[in-house]
């Protein structure tokens, strides 16, 4: 056990004994996200560095406190990447924080979400116990999939010491196209593309403009470009555009109205709420900048088969995350008790009651 891990474990054990609440924090770039921040900061950044990286295995094992940008640079040197394109929301974002937040970027629609790339984790649970689940291999069904359970758990179940992630080769080529389409047509078109073997790796529609990114072999991208049409966006502008979507630096995310993240089945009709909207992930993700009533938004999202998160801004008293069904909420509370019996880790970060 490294000194950093020993120190983190000691802090956790002491906190568990005294019932002192801790707020697990990497670079703090996602402090805005979640219900509430409670407890003394437990800084994870002392536990940093890449543990193992063998490009031919398509796996990297990295400590939680490592800066995300540093990991991505190491992968890029070998022509590989984190295919789920995690948002950083700041230069200090850490790998542990990205896994805990569980957020994925534009490529999620084709490559899969962060949770799909988590192969294993090493954590300290709420009692400071050092536990490893999963591993460094692609296929592993020994025991329950605790690693994926940790992804997106917002630090409420444990401190992520190490994570093993599947990585993928950077696509040989990428091209971005721009098409003018109204919202309903855009949703319909994105779903139609989704049913065809086209190398569409990202989509983003807002204000009548649909951006489509194609990624893959030269021949496949060339053929798809002909099928899709539209105008080609030059490479530098395209890169800036997708970074803006991922990092929320695009002008759409500028205004200080509450930002809602509405996750629905891809073919769901327009959510129909006044305000600006940006549609990603082939229609599955709808960002709404709106001051509309939370109950109305949640109701519409649920009717469409999805859920709504108050992502940024607004009044958190309405509940940041979509309420859980009672039986599901009970399982959550039970899991929290098993991983963190004293309830000291990120209390209230996800739901007020744990």
């Amino acid at each position: 056990m490294s000194d950093a891990v020993t120190a983190l474990a000691a802090t956790l054990r002491a906190a568990a004994e005294s019932g002192r609440r801790l707020r697990v924090r990497g670079g703090g770039t996602k402090d805005f996200y979640g219900q509430s921040l409670d407890g003394e900061v437990l800084d994870t950044r002392s536990n940093a560095g890449i543990v193992a990286y063998e490009p031919t295995e398509l796996v990297v094992t990295v400590r939680g406190g490592t800066r995300l940008a540093e990991l991505e640079a190491v992968l890029a040197e070998k022509g590989q990447m984190l295919a789920f394109e995690p948002p950083h929301f700041g230069a200090d974002a850490t790998v542990g924080g990205a896994v805990a937040a569980g957020l994925s970027g534009p490529r999620r629609q084709s490559a899969g979400a962060l949770r799909d790339f988590v192969l294993g984790v090493r954590i300290l649970d709420g009692g400071g116990r050092d536990l490893s689940f999963g591993g460094q291999v692609m296929k592993n069904v020994a025991g329950y999939d605790v690693s994926r359970l940790l992804a997106g758990s917002l630090g409420t179940l444990g401190v992520i010491l190490e994570v093993s992630l599947k990585v993928l080769p950077v696509p040989v080529t990428e091209t971005t196209l721009r098409l003018e389409l109204p919202e309903d047509k855009a949703i319909e078109t994105m779903n139609r593309w989704g049913g065809k073997p086209l190398p569409v790796s990202a989509t983003a529609w807002t204000g009548g403009d649909l951006g489509v990114r194609l990624s893959g072999a030269e021949a496949a991208v060339r053929a798809a470009r002909a099928k899709i049409g539209g105008e080609v966006v030059d490479d530098a502008r395209a890169r800036a555009f997708w970074t803006g979507i991922r990092e929320h630096t695009d002008p759409f995310f500028g205004p200080s109205v509450p930002l809602w993240r509405v996750s629905v089945p891809s073919a769901a009709a327009s959510i129909g709420i006044p305000g600006d909207q940006l549609v990603e992930w082939g229609g599955s993700l709808r960002w709404l900048a709106t001051g509309a009533d939370a109950r109305v938004i949640r109701d519409l999202a649920a009717k469409a088969g999805g859920h709504a998160t108050l992502f940024r801004g607004g009044d958190k008293a309405v509940g940041v995350f979509h309420p859980l069904a009672p039986a599901i909420a009970r399982i959550h509370a039970n899991l929290k008790r098993e991983f963190d019996p004293q309830g000291i880790l990120n209390r209230g970060r996800m739901y007020p009651d744990f």
Binding site: G143, S284, E338
Partner: protein, 494 residues
């Protein structure tokens, strides 16, 4: 691997059957031995036990009724799909109810626009792909038992197949699961959207071997069928060279749609059986598949061929048409039955290791063949390091059986020591439960038990599988291998 015959308490059996018949039709509750005998084992037929009662619920309401009754009476419940599992996950108990999903076999809704299918748990894997085919879509996980195995079983085991490297496992292709807990609560995990609020309980349930909830409905993701697939068959005069070719392929940035390997004994067994025209003098063969648009495939096949040639292939054949591609695969897919023909019994392992250790593992297995005087052909999903060594033995010879068990245990423990896992896709079930003591520490096993408690507080859903008790580990007497380090690295292992 010994036969077990549970003795059934007749009065308890009568009580449980009578209570179940209060809510289920008479014919959906079986307890006569001639009716329950077909359920005594799954694909791991060396383990058998007659279930006390078999329940065949026809819908979610009936599943709820069975679970509530069992919860009230404190009876164990073991769920079963088609019973094709290879690790004894659906092995019944003489003190428990076997819940078969056979009567829930309907495809409820297929949405070609959103590319999803909502199906009941007893729907066969292949029938989903068949239903989706008219829309140019398919369900990616394709375990070799796909003509028979059910989606409920696929979810319970997190089933894989030969295309996982590129298209993922069941966990990557299932969006939502509806199920019933032992308390009788209906729960929805995941969503038909790309994510759901709260913890990723869907991930916990996929691969949980029926220990957390009984599945009543599954929404799967359908993906577009590639326009074209083409396969390369490459022969090698050395097993290690073939193993290295796999790493070389990944190193240049190619993710094949399938990348499979068979050693010479496996190739020979298969050739006699299906006449796939495999090169019999090769020490190992690789099957490497490319799929996509015709342009894409042409480009990729060229790059793949180049890599295979550089890695020392003695022969390279590219499938000229779909018939030939299917012929290449026919051999690989028939590997288990083919081996079944040359030996009275075989024992299939499922360890997964980092790809770079493939060569080492094969040499180790060759040494173990000598040590235990048993033959062991090898087939594997080389692309994801998932091995299926097949130990040939005769179950009627107690000593061979014993040697087989020891042989298998050594291979699985070596998989853990190499930084891998005892099971890549077949599940732990009853078969590999002892090796879980090697792969996980007592604290980690306790956390698994905690996850089970969170879903199933009384511990009635498929208990005694997957997660060993500390007592069992103590009896097994093997040490936990900590993060891939053998207890005495200085000692030779063979």
């Amino acid at each position: 691997m010994s036969m077990r015959m549970g003795s059934i308490d007749a009065s308890r059996q009568a009580e449980v059957a009578a209570r179940l018949r209060q809510t289920l039709p008479e014919a959906s509750v079986l307890h006569d031995e001639e009716d329950t005998r077909p359920y005594e084992c799954d694909g791991l037929s060396a383990y058998r036990e007659l279930p006390m009662v078999v329940a065949l619920p026809a819908n979610e309401g009936e599943v709820q009724a069975v679970l509530k009754t069992c919860n009230d009476l404190n009876v164990k419940v073991i769920a079963r799909g088609a019973g094709t599992g290879l690790s004894g996950g659906a092995l019944p108990s003489g003190e428990g109810v076997l819940l078969s999903t056979a009567k829930m076999g309907k495809i409820l809704h297929l949405d070609p626009v959103a590319r999803t299918a909502r199906v009941q748990p007893g729907v066969r894997n292949l029938s989903i792909t068949e239903a989706a085919a008219p829309y140019g879509l398919y369900f990616a996980p394709d375990p070799s038992s796909q003509i028979a195995c059910t989606i409920g079983g696929n979810v319970a085991e997190n089933a894989g197949g030969v295309h996982c490297l590129k298209y993922g496992l069941t966990v990557h292709n299932v969006m939502r699961v509806r199920g019933v807990t032992i308390a009788g609560d209906v729960v929805e995990l995941g969503a038909e959207a790309l994510d759901a609020p709260g913890y990723d309980l869907l991930a916990a349930v996929v691969g949980s071997e029926g220990m957390l909830a009984v599945i009543t409905e599954v929404t799967v993701r359908l993906i577009p069928k590639p326009e074209l697939a083409q396969c390369i068959l490459a022969a090698y005069d050395d097993v290690e060279k073939a193993g290295n070719a796999v790493a070389d392929m990944i190193a240049v940035g190619i993710i094949p749609a399938g990348l499979e390997m068979m050693d010479q004994p496996a190739t020979r067994a298969v050739e006699e059986f299906v006449h796939a025209n495999y090169p019999l003098d090769a020490k190992a063969i690789l099957l490497c598949e490319s799929d996509g648009t015709p342009e894409e495939v042409a480009e990729e096949i060229e790059r793949m061929t180049e890599v295979l040639r550089r890695s020392g292939a003695t022969e390279i054949r590219v499938s000229r048409d779909e018939a030939e591609r299917l012929k290449f695969w026919a051999g690989r897919k028939a590997a288990f039955p083919a081996v079944g023909r040359i030996s009275p019994d075989y024992y299939c392992m499922d360890g997964t290791i980092p790809r770079r250790r493939l060569g080492e593992m094969l040499h180790a297995i060759a040494e173990l063949e000598k040590k235990y005087r048993l033959r062991c052909p090898n087939v594997f999903h080389a692309g994801d390091g998932n091995l299926h060594p097949l130990i040939l033995f005769d179950a009627n010879d107690p000593d061979e059986l014993h040697r087989t068990e020891q042989f298998a245990a050594e291979v699985l423990e070596l998989s853990v020591a190499f930084g891998g896992t005892v099971t890549g896709e077949h599940g732990v079930g009853i078969e590999k439960i002892n090796q879980m003591c090697v792969q996980f520490s007592p604290d980690e096993l306790e956390m698994f038990r905690g996850v089970k408690r969170a879903f199933d507080p009384p511990g009635l859903l498929n208990p005694d599988k997957n997660i060993p008790t500390l007592h069992r580990c103590a009896e097994y007497g093997k040490m936990h291998v900590h993060r891939g380090q053998l207890p005495h690295p200085e000692l030779p292992r063979f």
